[in-house]
């Protein structure tokens, strides 16, 4: 069955014609190239290289960035791209989020002119893959206490430490790495072949199986002095990147939710039990109605957030709310969709289990669900509840 995107309130009619054309371009590509191949990619645990090439050719990487060969689209268009990619798979959207919001964005915002000219055009075209090194084995929600450090050795920097859970790490040409220089967090551009740098892949994931997840290891990693990002100091650097990536996730999760809804609706209409389609029973209709309700609310949230992002009237707490809510409902929709599919829901003939397992990661990465609650709690009360030590 052809995919019918649920849009109960015609929210997409609020998009510009250009944004809708970008949506259709990505949606058609996902239908033709991603959906038929995603289960094999997951089984093999690989991110198909053809997808990198196509994303570059379509010109969607680093969507909202302007200049240096970047697309220069609106944040609404960026959101729509994430939604359509994640309708295919969260691992695919993760690739695009990391490339655009976590690797290209810091170079675009905090890099020198030379760095921008050198890296951004090749990253926008997909020729060079980027990754983002912030999380460490012992520092996830609390990146400020990271151990990785950089030392100024006169004519070069020396980096030591380790990063973990790094999407695209092993396949990346360019890593944007956050490390402490004299106790202050700074961004550094590390290249694949820099001495003392390695990026072994983490294996054994039951989630985001078509996405490459790696460790980044720095053992006396030596990089030239011109690889520091001059424009930012402290946690503001990585957090600005995360704001953009989280914005994309708030749209992306809706893509997974819509895929699960679409499959559950089709299944319920055609599955006969007790002589009638299960869609004719009240308990099933209640589940479908709840899914539609949550997806519609999520769409309005994401759309309005995009307007605020484009107008520059947003605060990070707005993004926290949308990321937290939309991933949460998407995961719950995937679980309810599995219920509606009965035993069939566990088969890879349907996208349900894959989306569900992916969304477990999406709920945790880019600020866990609980951390986003604490961000909003701090906004309401003015009292931070992350630590008792402050």
């Amino acid at each position: 069955m052809a995919y019918e995107a649920l849009d109960f309130y015609d929210v997409d009619s609020l998009l510009s014609e250009e944004e809708r054309m970008v949506r259709d371009m990505v949606r058609d590509w996902v239908d033709e190239e991603v959906i038929p191949n995603i289960e094999n990619a997951c089984r093999d645990g690989v991110f198909p290289d053809e997808w990198r090439v196509s994303l570059g050719e379509m010109g969607v990487l680093g969507a909202p960035l302007k200049g240096y060969g970047c697309p220069g689209l609106s944040y609404a268009a960026y959101g729509v791209i994430c939604r359509e990619l994640e309708r295919g798979d969260s691992g695919l959207r993760s690739f695009a989020s990391v490339q655009g919001s976590l690797a290209m964005y810091p170079i675009w915002d905090f890099g020198s002119k030379e760095q921008k000219n050198h890296y951004l055009p090749k990253m926008a075209s997909g020729e060079w893959i980027g990754c983002f090194g912030l999380t460490e084995p012992d520092y996830g929600s609390n990146p400020g206490d990271m151990i990785t450090k950089a030392e100024d050795k006169g004519d070069h920097y020396l980096i030591n430490g380790a990063k973990m859970w790094i999407t695209n790490g092993t396949i990346a040409e360019v890593a944007v790495v956050w490390a402490k220089l004299d106790g202050v967090i700074r961004g550094f551009i590390v290249e694949k072949n820099d001495p003392g740098f390695s990026a072994p892949e983490m294996k054994g994931k039951h989630s985001l199986k078509a996405s490459v997840t790696s460790e980044l290891v720095f053992q006396d990693c030596k990089i030239p002095k011109n690889r520091i990002l001059p424009g930012v100091k402290g946690l503001r650097g990585p957090f600005s990147c995360l704001n953009n990536a989280r914005f994309g996730i708030s749209w992306g999760a809706l893509g997974s939710a819509q895929a699960c809804f679409d499959s559950a609706k089709e299944y319920a209409m055609s599955r006969i039990q007790f002589n009638h389609p299960i869609a004719s029973y009240q308990l099933v209709q209640n589940k479908l109605a709840w899914m539609l309700r949550e997806i519609t609310k999520g769409q309005l949230l994401a759309y309005h957030l995009a307007q605020k992002k484009d107008a520059g009237t947003w605060i990070p707490e707005h993004i926290s709310l949308a990321k937290m809510n939309n991933v949460d409902i998407a995961l719950e929709i995937a679980r309810v969709a599995r219920d509606i599919h009965g035993a069939n829901g566990i088969l890879d003939e349907y996208p349900i289990m894959r989306h569900m397992a992916n969304l477990e990661s999406v709920k945790t990465y880019e600020g866990t669900h609980d951390i986003h609650n604490l961000i909003i709690g701090r906004h309401i009360t003015g009292i931070q509840a992350f630590t008792r030590d402050a």
Partner: protein, 251 residues
């Protein structure tokens, strides 16, 4: 070289449609797309332009919603977008008269179109337009190239396939070929947004459409699909195998 490509917007082949009265209820169509054979004509036109230089003129005649398809054509490389407003119900001959007039107005050297539209499947546009233009027409074309004043086309024949060359103004009606269609990209979409659609009316083209000579007398919906056959038990295996082999022709 001026390359005209004739395009028609039709309900997407994957979209659900509802039949009401004399045809499809247009309001029920969830997605409109370029007719699939027209996509091959457009792709071949773009390749001809890339190889020989020139201007690609995308022309459509239809309701206002068709303009969106012209913008889609611009996103993959169409240079000039021409929209002819349809005025009420027109038959195929009326549409051909308007398309032929637009082709003359834009001084096209060669015309590419789909062999038939995915909605009506009439298949008369290419030959009909060629007739009015007094141009050569080749149908069921899978590919076309241009060298030294000759258009070289490939089409199926009773011997397999044949290569046909034509000179002068020619109309080529495309079948689905092995040609890979290009995808739009963000840059193309952003350029397309700036392209102006030239809207013209039948009277701008100096065409006075007379009454239609074609009248729809009646129509019949396709017959309901017959129920499938059900076999239970191992004693039916040979019957099922024989039916699959001789009736369904699948084994």
């Amino acid at each position: 070289m001026n390359i005209a490509v004739l395009l028609k917007q039709v309900p997407d082949t994957t979209a659900k449609i509802i039949i009401a009265g004399e045809g499809v209820d247009e309001n029920s169509v969830s997605k409109w797309s370029m007719s699939p054979y027209d996509e091959y004509a457009l792709e071949s036109g773009l390749r001809m332009k890339e190889n020989n230089g020139g201007v690609l003129i995308a022309i459509t005649c239809g309701p206002d919603r068709s303009k969106k398809m012209l913008t889609d054509a611009a996103a993959v490389g169409a240079d000039t977008l021409v929209y002819i407003s349809d005025e009420g119900v027109m038959d195929s001959t009326h549409v051909q008269q308007l398309l032929a007039a637009a082709i003359r107005k834009y001084e096209a050297d060669v015309v590419l179109c789909g062999k038939q539209a995915a909605d009506t499947n009439a298949g008369s546009t290419g030959p009909g337009v060629a007739e009015i233009l007094e141009a050569t027409c080749v149908t069921l074309v899978s590919e076309v190239s241009y060298t030294d004043g000759n258009y070289i086309t490939m089409r199926p024949s009773n011997a397999g396939s044949e290569k046909v060359s034509t000179q002068g103004t020619s109309v080529f009606a495309f079948d689905k070929g092995s040609t890979e269609l290009r995808r739009p990209n963000v840059r193309g979409i952003m350029m397309a947004k700036k392209k102006i659609i030239e809207s013209i009316t039948p009277s701008d083209l100096g065409v006075h459409l007379g009454d239609s000579n074609v009248h729809l007398d009646s129509q019949t919906p396709p017959p309901e699909k017959a129920a499938g056959q059900k076999f239970e038990g191992s004693e039916h295996v040979s019957t099922v195998v024989s039916k699959l082999r001789n009736e369904a022709n699948v084994i």
